[in-house]
Point group: C2
Chain length 282, copies 2
């Protein structure tokens, strides 16, 4: 397995693959090689134990049995368009980006049939950037979404095997469904957390005792604003249409709650519905 991109996500996958014996083979743990255009980043990832070795050149990754693209979404698309035609028939190519339609489109456009290309999104990670923030545990039992790009059972089967070898739970769906739901369950929460952190920053600058009055509830609500802004901007832009839809629905709901602030029984009834629904998902 060659992992391109040795940040938090790439390191997490490498760690997870190397910490478990390969399924259904006598080969022992997976052999993992890692590439990062920043050599120091690759070294830190290797030091965490994500790989057996560092690949000095990106081209060295192209001949691996399986290639994992673990860079921000726009770079994933660039890599696919630049190197897709050079991938050998029979190899598996999967990415880890948080927006899937743009990736799947690029794969269809630039990777020929015979190469087993498929979109991937491990629904796990931490808000701490870089190899230092990676946690192999985060993947254990987490959903690893697979979005097929064409009728290719081998791509689905091999990608599912890879996800399971990393301890995750493969979930196959189309890229459109993924992007629509993730806009709500992941991208919108990121926007909300960054907005809240920004407001708190404004108030603190105006001299309000924000730090003294920020409790664990605030920390929890603002947690995702610790995520690398470059990565977040990349996936929000790549999924802008769906994020805009989700934001529109959120603002309608906030307005409805605003309108009920002076009517405690109605407010309580509205909150109680959301509270009860909270029981239906993790």
């Amino acid at each position: 397995v060659a992992i391109i991109g040795a940040g938090q996500v790439g390191t997490m996958i490498g760690l997870a693959l190397r910490s478990r014996p390969s399924h259904g083979s006598d080969a022992g743990p997976a052999q993992v090689a890692v590439f990062d255009r920043d050599r120091a980043v690759a070294e830190r990832s290797l030091a965490r134990g994500s790989a057996n070795r560092i690949l000095p050149h990106l081209e060295d990754a192209l001949t691996a049995d399986a290639i994992v693209l673990a860079v921000p979404v726009p770079e994933i698309v660039k890599l696919i368009d630049e190197f897709g035609r050079r991938l050998p028939v029979g190899s598996l190519v999967i990415d880890t980006g948080s927006a899937k339609r743009v990736v799947v489109k690029a794969m269809r456009r630039s990777i020929s049939e015979g190469v087993h290309a498929i979109g991937g999104h491990p629904m796990a990670g931490t808000e701490r950037p870089g190899a230092e923030g990676a946690s192999a545990k985060a993947l254990a039992g987490a959903a690893f979404v697979l979005t097929p790009i064409r009728d290719d059972g081998a791509a689905v089967g091999r990608a599912a095997g890879l996800a399971e070898a990393a301890g995750a739970r493969p979930v196959v769906m189309d890229a459109e469904s993924h992007d629509r739901v993730v806009a709500l369950t992941s991208h919108l929460p990121h926007v909300m957390a960054f907005a809240l952190a920004g407001l708190a920053g404004d108030a603190a600058r105006e001299g309000e005792p924000v730090a003294a009055l920020a409790s664990t509830g605030f920390s929890s609500a603002a947690r995702l604003s610790r995520t690398d802004p470059e990565m977040v901007a990349a996936f929000l832009s790549a999924n802008a249409d769906e994020v805009r839809q989700a934001l529109g629905r959120l603002m309608e709901r906030l307005q409805a709650l605003d309108a009920a602030l002076d009517d405690e029984p109605r407010l309580k009834a509205m909150l109680a519905v959301a509270h009860a629904e909270r029981g239906t998902h993790p």
Copy 2:
């Protein structure tokens, strides 16, 4: 100490007081009595260890050295207006409500000078309701806001002593500042979490695979929607003006982020500011 209200907050305070030796005295841990209009709730709190005994009648609490009102905000106001005139000179009365202006107003109106009344808000707790959800640990090192109602050094001193005896850190400020800042650091995050949980509930009902795609980021963002909706509706309504202000600022910010979704460099710059500010508070 008599605690009125044996839910999560009252139980937390009782547990915290009883788990530490009294400061500056040889009396050992504080003697705590608890009252709840629902006897079964009081029994569960006692079983958790929050008190030495149960008070059978609310009136039994009125003669305690210190009275802690740990019920939802509207009930705090009712209790003060109903029983404030009957409190003996020299006793300490403090509440635990999350909105302070309405409480301070009621105390000024209905509690005579000579009784040491002061607003209080322990900035700690869990989203699990009832005595079962209480955690004495949650108070350790947490801010316990004290909002004086008149020039009464003894009220501040004794309330600070009580907060410290429970392991918390007293923070004195006026009720207006408290309500303005808490609208942002606590009330708004509650509104956001309930709105998000409601949207996710809607999508799940429409058949979207929400549960499969809700990761730890979603759980963190929606965590506060597990809080008792009655309590949340009560403090949001009691602090409606400030919450409305905070909501207005949030919506402006969400609109600005929305407008930047198609302009990745600008979006990244906006997110980076909030991300950097996140470092300035917990």
